[in-house]
Each structure stands twice: as structure tokens, then as C-alpha cells.
Subunit: 357 residues, 2 copies
Amino acid sequence: MPFVLLRVSVVPVFLIFILMKRISIRDLAKKAGVSTSTVSFILNGKAEKMRISKELTAKVKDISKKMGYVPNQVAVSLRTGQSKQIGLIVESISGHFFGLLARIIETEAEKYGYRIIYCSTENKAQQGLDILKMLSQQQVDGYMITPAKGMEEEIRRLAERKKPVVLIDGFFEGDTIPYVIVDNYKGVEMGMKHLFAKGYKDIGFVTVDLDLVQIAERKAAFTDALKNNKIRKIGERILTVSYHSPAENIMQQIKDFITGRPKMDAIFFSTNYLGVLGVEIIAKMGLALPGDLAMICFDDQDVFRLFGPGITVIKQPVDEIARKAIDLLLHQLEKKKSPGRLQQVKLQPVLVERGST
Amino acid sequence: MPFVLLRVSVVPVFLIFILMKRISIRDLAKKAGVSTSTVSFILNGKAEKMRISKELTAKVKDISKKMGYVPNQVAVSLRTGQSKQIGLIVESISGHFFGLLARIIETEAEKYGYRIIYCSTENKAQQGLDILKMLSQQQVDGYMITPAKGMEEEIRRLAERKKPVVLIDGFFEGDTIPYVIVDNYKGVEMGMKHLFAKGYKDIGFVTVDLDLVQIAERKAAFTDALKNNKIRKIGERILTVSYHSPAENIMQQIKDFITGRPKMDAIFFSTNYLGVLGVEIIAKMGLALPGDLAMICFDDQDVFRLFGPGITVIKQPVDEIARKAIDLLLHQLEKKKSPGRLQQVKLQPVLVERGST
DNA sequence: TCCGGATACTAAAACGGTTTAGCTAAATTT
DNA sequence: AAATTTAGCTAAACCGTTTTAGTATCCGGA
């Protein structure tokens, strides 16, 4: 008797144990009494091409559904060489710009059956390389990269191997790698024109020591704007803070910059992140915008819309960037389409005028 | 002669073509004149255990480095059943809270050799299920999920299959699935105590129609707080907006709520997102904080630190949540450690008092 | 009657690793 | 000297698919 009891309690457990194992295409084949190839053809929509009969096709599909079959993507990847994964390498996963970017890219990629693997470099060269290696091991099908310094060589190597790559928000001079960026020079130029038009003359520029093309361009545009307006001693109107400094420290530097000489009536922040810190310190100093100081920033943010009178910004068309980038990548992934002439895209930013100027 | 020319130009191209192909463990084995098993043992640090001689070990490692061998993770996954990937399912990839969360989780997971696959449900049930299926196909080793409605059953199924799962910022009643949440009830309670202490009596509550435990708890805490203070007609002090309404619409509702009756001297926003909209409409209405209206919000944000006098908030310990969650998951992934008693963690939020109250 | 061509499937190789179970020769024990 | 152990390595199965190259059966035509 105890035996019987034992068995009734043990058998279901055993069954559950069996059920736990994922069912494979072989299980389906066995159940249907056919070969795995047949099942594979049917489930991949090649039944007709392979002349599998209607009845069998229906039967197998039915069994598959009933047993809850889910193909093992890893095995598929190994066999086909396609992982259906795209690596997205951004500067910082928690940044505002990249959050928006990611959301759009994700939904867009999904339409074509691709998953995004999301990685952030935090602007460390070594980390960027490690990530690239990892992604390569994972056999991702394509790469979307906001290129940091030190990654050039490795990225070029990818391109040489004909791996689909798209650069976002940065590019390499004299290269054929597709990219989509915003016209940084034009953006700052627009901002400066706006400031001059509003009558501001003593303009300070806060930037960061990241060695990136887009940062360099923004700075160049600022410098040129001053030159064109016959303003001298440009160097002392530029503050370059260190990327890895703590926020407190940067704020202190900005404060010193504002109160120091030459005195200024407007300040231009070259990035989002700097702008937020700027807003914070300006608020702490009790300066009125734009009365005591006008402010403008490259790249938009919730904070800029809401703070005080609103901060005038040069806004990047994030949607457009994301959509264009994924477009360029899918182009390469699904080779079908025409080569597509223009693989290097420069989009126009837009000036959003708010109360701070 | 033309032939020679042809060959010098063709051979390098051919070589490049050869080089393009990723080198496999077989290539290494051939080069070293040993079997693939030997190479595998050596590269996986099992040389000693398998009694491979020091010299051979060194030689193979050397060749591997020289040839730039990178193992194919897909093949490894298929064989070992371990993908070294963790699926992170969040509500919205561009949300502030999740951005921070992701950053910490990513760096933490990396230490143990795991990659994060990042997905967002946008609070749509079907999308959540699709993602779960996708991740399962990808053979991810573990799941971190902010559970949306409609995912319960599927998540339970995962747990039953002994898949490592950790829930974040939500949980299922009466279940044993590990989770880490913040004490939502306590948080709102603290906020209400603070408001009452400051002398506010007519408090409005803005919440959203998401069917989530944490939202329900926040509302319950509000209701209870009013009850405890003998305040009646609680219903008309609560505004529940629809999650999928456009921002404009929600702001209008908030405006009506503020200007409507019963009049209020303080307003409590139950989420970050609502709070930002609140700030925006309050600014537009020209109300002074806290003069015309006091404001408090559940969950912090850059905006709240910087807007006007600063918004008082109930801050979630994001760092702690992330670290604890990844901890619970790794616990399950690397079964070594002790079972670890407490698998369901409730963390305490903290009140950050700013100018708005 | 035999051939050619559909028709309806299947066997087996391949993808690139890991791992179990040996195998051989030398060293050690009995 | 035979038996056993050890050192150093390898053969081959296996993970779960896809896909190429068949095979077997039937049918119509010459």
C-alpha cells in the first residue's frame, strides 16, 4: 500500500520533470511520425516549395501548437549564421538623448525581427573595445555605434569584414562607413546668430574634453562665430571641463567662469549634461535668466523646457536620427534593396527659442 | 605579362577573403597540430585538470593570441545551454528610473560575465508576452522583469521551469518568486505625514489607471492617510488619468483638477511622469510653489531638483534596488551559494524635502 | 515494358564548440 | 616481468536546427 501511495505522488512529479524540458523539433517529428527536416520545412513556410502535402502540413502545425514548440534561436543562429541581434553601443545608457534614441530604434528594429543588445561605453576606450569583442562573440548581425575615441581601428576592422555598421552622432574622417549625425557646426552657428541678433556680445562657451568630432565641431563653430564678429581673445571665453570630473567640481568651474573675467552676458553650453549642471549652478547663484545672463544649450532636455523661463536650445532631431540610422543598418542587413546611394547622412538641428535668451 | 599583373592584384584580394572568415577552434587545432579537444581544454583553463603539458599549453595559447581567435558564443551556448545573457524587461526604456536602473544592472552583471538584453513593454500586455517568448527563444539564462498586467501567468511558468527570475518594482501576491520593490505604501504615508505636519489639509492626489500593485498601494496609502485625519469624500480628491492619454490631455485634466472643487492647498503626484506634467502645467498656470499650491511627487527626477524652489519628493533608492535585484538573480544563476533565505525584498524610500512644501 | 518526371518525404552533413570516455606510452608498483 | 597507474592527448558524441542531396513511389507516355 505505501508503495501505491508513493507511486501516485511520484509519477506526476516525474511527468512535470519531463515536461520541463523544452521540446525540440525532434519531439515534434517523433510525435508526428515524420523526419525533423519535414517539420523544419513546414514550420519555416517552405512546405509548398518542398511539396509537403496539405494534410501533413496542417497536422504538424497543429502538433507544434499543441505542444507549445518554440524554436531554439541559438541553434538557429549557429546553423544559419544569423543571430537576429543588433548591437547598440551608446555613450551612456542613462543619458537623455540615448534613452529616446533607444526607444525608437528598438521598436523599429523589432518590426524586422531584430532584437537590440544595448551597451554603454561610459566614454572609456577600453570598455568600448571589450563591448565590441563581446558583441562579436555573440555573433550580432549588425552594429550601431556612437563612436568613442579609441574604437576607430576596431570599427574599421568590422567594416572590412563586411559587417553591417552604422555610426551615430559621430564619424571618422575620410571613411566610407555609413553614419548619421547632426550638423553640429550649423547648430552652434544658429545659436550664435540668435544670440548676436538678440544683442548679446560677451558670450562664454562651456565644453568638455572629450576627443570627439562633434564636440570639436561645436567648438569650431563658436570660435568662427566670434572671429566673424571681430571678437578677440577667444581662448579666455572658452571653458573646457574634464569629462570625468565630479558634478560638484564642474559646477564650481562654471561658477568661476561666469563670475570671472572677461565678464559675460550670455553662456553657451555645448552639451546637454553641461547645460543641466549650468542650470543648477545658475539657480544656486541666484542669477536671473535672461536678465543677469542669457543661456543657450546644445541638445534638449525636460529640464530645459521647465526650468525658469525655459532654456533656449539647439535641438537634435532624435526621431529622425534614430529612424535614419536603423534604416541604414537594415539596408545593409537585408541586402536585397538597391545599394542606396547616400549612406552618410547629416541632419539639421533646430533652434528652440525659450525665455532664457 | 598581363597574367602576372592580374595575379599580383588578385592574390591579395583572395587572401583578404580568406582572412575574413572567422577562425575557429579547428583552425587553431590544425595550426598547432593537436585536436580540438586539447585546444578547448587549454583555452578554458582546464589544461591542468586534463594534464596537458605546460609547453603545449603555452604554445596553443600563443597561437590563439596570434591568430586572434575569438570563440563563437553561439556555439558555446548551444553546447553548454548557457547563453550568459540576462533579459531585462522594463516599462519604458526612456524612463528616468529605468535608465538609472539599467546602468547599474549592466555594470554589475558584466562583472559576472553576463550581458543584458534590454526590452521595454510600454505597458502593453501583449508586447510583454512577445518579449518573454523572444527572450526564451534566445535562451537567456535569467530574467529581470518589471511586471506589467497580463504577464503573471507566463512569468509563473518561467519560475516553474526553474528559470531564474527576479521581479523589480512589482510582485505577485502569494507567490514565491523573488522580487525587490520599494515600500510604496510607506512612501506615500511619509509624504502625507510631511504635508500634514506642514499644515496642509486639502490635498489632491493624481494617479494613473495602470493596474499595478505599486500604484494601488500608493493610492491606498493616500486614502488611508485621509481617513486617519477624518477627511471625507476622498473620491473627489483623487484624479486618475489614463496612461495612454497624450500629455496635453493629462495636463488639462490636472489643471481642471487643481482649479476645480474641492479647492486644494497641496497636490501629490503618484508617479514621476505625472509629476513632470504637473510641474509643467503649474508653471503655465503661473501658480507659485508652495505659496499657491504645495507639491510633492513619488520618485525623483532632475527636473524636480531644478524646477523653481525644488520639488519635494519620495525618492526610491535606485542604486539599492538595482544592486539587490542583480544580486538575487546571480544567486539563482550561480547556484553555488547558500539558498539565501530572504528572496523577497522591500526597500525603504526616503523623503527629500525641497522648496515646494 | 521501360523511362522520365512528378510527388512526398528523409538521411545526413553542417554550424563551432564542449565533454565523456578512451587510448597509448611511459612510469611505477607488485 | 607482469600488472597497474599515470601522464598526455584524442575520437566522437552532442547541443537543436537548416539544408543539400537524395530515395521511394506513382503516373503518364512511348
